[in-house]
């Protein structure tokens, strides 16, 4: 109404209106500048720890302790990496972690997609109760079941092997993934699978040849999440692995912190060779960071599917 009145009353009113428009535009600029300022600030805070880690990892021992600290190492010492990785059998830690992660991720995807398929597409008595049980395991803190699980693996004679870090994932693992696959499979149009049924495709064929190939994004999300979880896992390797040659990267880093060979009696926070420890940490984080950069959208989608479409 005001606008209409303004346009009817001719030129004299145009000037204040133009002024108001100018003010609105100025406010908009201020707003955008503020947003960018905050975005850059937070991005700086988020990336600085990584930058600092990288910087420390390339410094000489003396440079690490210089004050005020410097960002660019003088001189740059890539040989820290060689020293860090050969001081302890890092290649074994890496190999073990890769075996555990690959095997556990495969198991997690197989067992949870099978269960997810059943909950999404098949009907059976007791189904709802079972699904509630699946979800309720999410609320059980791991430490609650840690001791009896340890005793099971001890009884099987699997202590100090990689098996306790792999086998549970072939038997369901975390219910998070079952839920994720169920949600994803439910989103695939029924017509697609009905057509396959008419073509004489069995239920397993339906799962393997129709639903799984259509679910590559969900598989990617599940693979990324479980890879991160297995790669970074510390509690389980700590409980199950005893000898150094069976250690994963997480345990190996701890050895490093403890000052090398013994792994005993760590004085809290007393690390001397920060440059080597940071070099080892960079190498330990590298697989996760690479996966994150290349497969970021699946990472995001995975969080969103499980979190929001409950």
């Amino acid at each position: 109404m005001d606008v209409a009145a303004g346009s009817n009353s001719g030129l004299p009113l145009a000037t204040p209106r133009r002024r108001a428009l100018g003010l609105a535009r100025a406010l908009k600029v201020v707003r955008v500048v503020t947003i960018y300022f905050l975005l850059v600030l937070v991005a700086f805070l988020m990336t600085m720890p990584f930058v600092w880690m990288l910087s420390t990892s390339l410094k000489e021992a003396g440079d690490v302790f210089s004050y005020p600290p410097t960002l660019i190492p003088q001189p740059i010492r890539p040989s820290n990496y060689v020293e860090a990785l050969t001081k302890l059998p890092f290649h074994l830690f890496y190999r073990n972690t890769a075996i555990v992660a690959a095997a556990a991720v495969t198991g997690q995807i197989l067992s949870s997609s099978l269960a997810g398929f059943a909950f999404a597409r098949l009907r059976a008595r007791g189904q709802n109760v079972l699904f509630i049980l699946v979800l309720s395991t999410l609320m059980v803190p791991e430490p609650v079941i840690m001791i009896p699980t340890f005793l099971i693996f001890r009884h099987l004679g699997w202590l100090d092997t990689l098996l306790p870090l792999i086998v549970p994932y072939y038997l369901g693992g975390s219910a998070f993934y079952t839920f994720m696959f169920r949600q994803f499979f439910r989103g695939i149009p029924l017509e697609l699978t009905d057509a396959a049924k008419i073509d004489g495709c069995g239920l397993f064929g339906l799962y393997r040849r129709i639903l799984m190939p259509l679910s590559l994004p969900a598989i990617a999300s599940a693979a990324i999440f479980s890879f991160f979880a297995r790669w970074n896992d510390f509690l389980h390797p700590l409980i199950y692995l005893k000898s150094k040659e069976n250690f994963t990267v997480a345990l190996g880093l701890r050895l490093f912190q403890a000052g090398g060979q013994t792994g005993q009696g760590v004085a809290q926070g007393r690390v001397v060779e920060w440059q080597l420890l940071m070099a080892a940490s960079v190498v330990a984080m590298l697989p996760c960071l690479l996966i994150f950069f290349f497969l970021q959208r699946y990472f995001v989608r995975g969080i969103v599917t499980t979190g929001l479409k409950g």
């Binding site: 905050l38 975005l39 988020m46 990336t47 720890p49 600092w52 004050y67 005020p68 067992s111 269960a115 398929f117 059943a118 098949l122 009907r123 059976a124 189904q127 049980l133 395991t137 430490p143 609650v144 079941i145 840690m146 001791i147 699980t149 340890f150 005793l151 099971i152 549970p168 072939y170 038997l171 369901g172 693992g173 049924k197 004489g200 069995g202 239920l203 397993f204 064929g205 799962y207 790669w231 970074n232 510390f234 509690l235 700590l238 997480a250 701890r254 809290q268 926070g269 690390v271 420890l277 940490s281 330990a284 996760c288 960071l289 970021q296 990472f299 969080i303 979190g307 929001l308 409950g310």
Partner: protein, 309 residues
């Protein structure tokens, strides 16, 4: 699991249908068989077993001896149990709400329509991709009282740098500062929630003359409330299980200032070999977490708004 038999004839629909339903039921159980086995062996079995073990004294080298409720009597009078519960409670009360505030604020920031925001989104998420020992070591270095980057920055601005993990007062805040770096997951959920709020709601509110703050309080927050609930429930469950950071960074110190519940449980089980007492602690943890989860769902009726529900 095999192929379906070729259907004999189209007019015996009733029989075929029944057989198909049975077939489907069998298939259902075959598909979830790995999960059922895992549930029995790795969830239900251990949960029941830990009740039984909690009534024994057991160092796992010699056979267990039945001691009735003595572990629970010990629990009731163990100052370290109360202490670890206190430390963990302070952590949960401090970290969980703070994580929500920070991750929601960051999500709001990322939700602004400005060019280049996908780059910022990547940078904001990045820390969520890493966790565990490497991150703990990195923060031990960043928060080093003498050589750490953070204290250098604080001193640059004329603020006294705390002693962080070597101080009883500052160790827990140090862990909270570190945890704020990794709010990527709740942040992604809030961002997705924000993007799901229908634009018409804001438009009609603007017509009614609502300002930014009112739009936020009366549209954004109610529309996000299911996500807030989800994040709170997960945050509480996860926060009760803090272990790796304290094991690596502080060993529960200094002077037990960061003796978290799960660290105390771990020590009882795998350092003192008190399997019975550790199992009692485990059940304590379970009951606390379940009670808090149920409580949050009950209270959620009052403030969570479900669209169309």
């Amino acid at each position: 699991m095999g192929r379906m038999a070729p259907q004999p004839a189209r007019w015996v629909v009733g029989r075929v249908h029944l057989r198909q339903a049975q077939r489907e039921e069998i298939a259902f159980y075959l598909f979830i068989l790995p999960w059922i086995a895992g549930f029995l062996v790795f969830w239900a079995g251990p949960m029941l077993a830990s009740i039984a073990i909690s009534f024994t004294q057991w160092d796992i080298l010699t056979p267990p001896s039945w001691t009735g409720v003595s572990n629970f009597q010990k629990l009731a009078t163990d100052p370290l149990f109360y202490h670890s519960l206190k430390v963990t409670t302070i952590w949960v009360l401090g970290a969980v709400p703070l994580h929500q505030l920070v991750s929601l604020a960051l999500a709001l920031l990322l939700n602004q329509r400005v060019p280049g925001r996908s780059l910022f989104r990547t940078l904001f998420y990045m820390p969520a991709a890493v966790s565990g020992v490497a991150v703990a070591l990195l923060w031990l270095w960043l928060l080093d009282p003498y050589l750490g980057l953070l204290n250098f920055v604080l001193e640059f601005f004329g603020l006294p740098g705390p002693k962080w993990f070597t101080s009883e007062t500052w160790a827990l805040p140090g862990l909270i500062v570190m945890s704020l770096w990794s709010v990527g997951v709740p942040m992604v959920l809030y961002l997705a929630g924000l993007q799901g709020v229908p634009e018409e709601l804001y438009e009609s509110a603007a017509i009614d003359g609502a300002g930014e703050l009112r739009k936020f309080l009366y549209i954004t927050i109610p529309m996000l409330s299911p996500v807030i609930l989800f994040n709170l429930v997960w945050g509480v469950i996860g926060s009760f299980q803090v272990f790796t950071q304290v094991y690596v960074m502080t060993q529960g110190g200094p002077n037990r200032a960061t003796l978290f519940y799960v660290l105390y449980l771990y020590r009882n089980a795998f350092e003192y070999f008190e399997m019975g007492y550790a199992s009692a602690l485990a059940w304590g943890l379970f009951l606390i977490v379940i009670a808090l989860t149920i409580l949050q769902f009950k209270l959620s009726d009052r403030w969570v708004h479900y669209q169309g529900g």
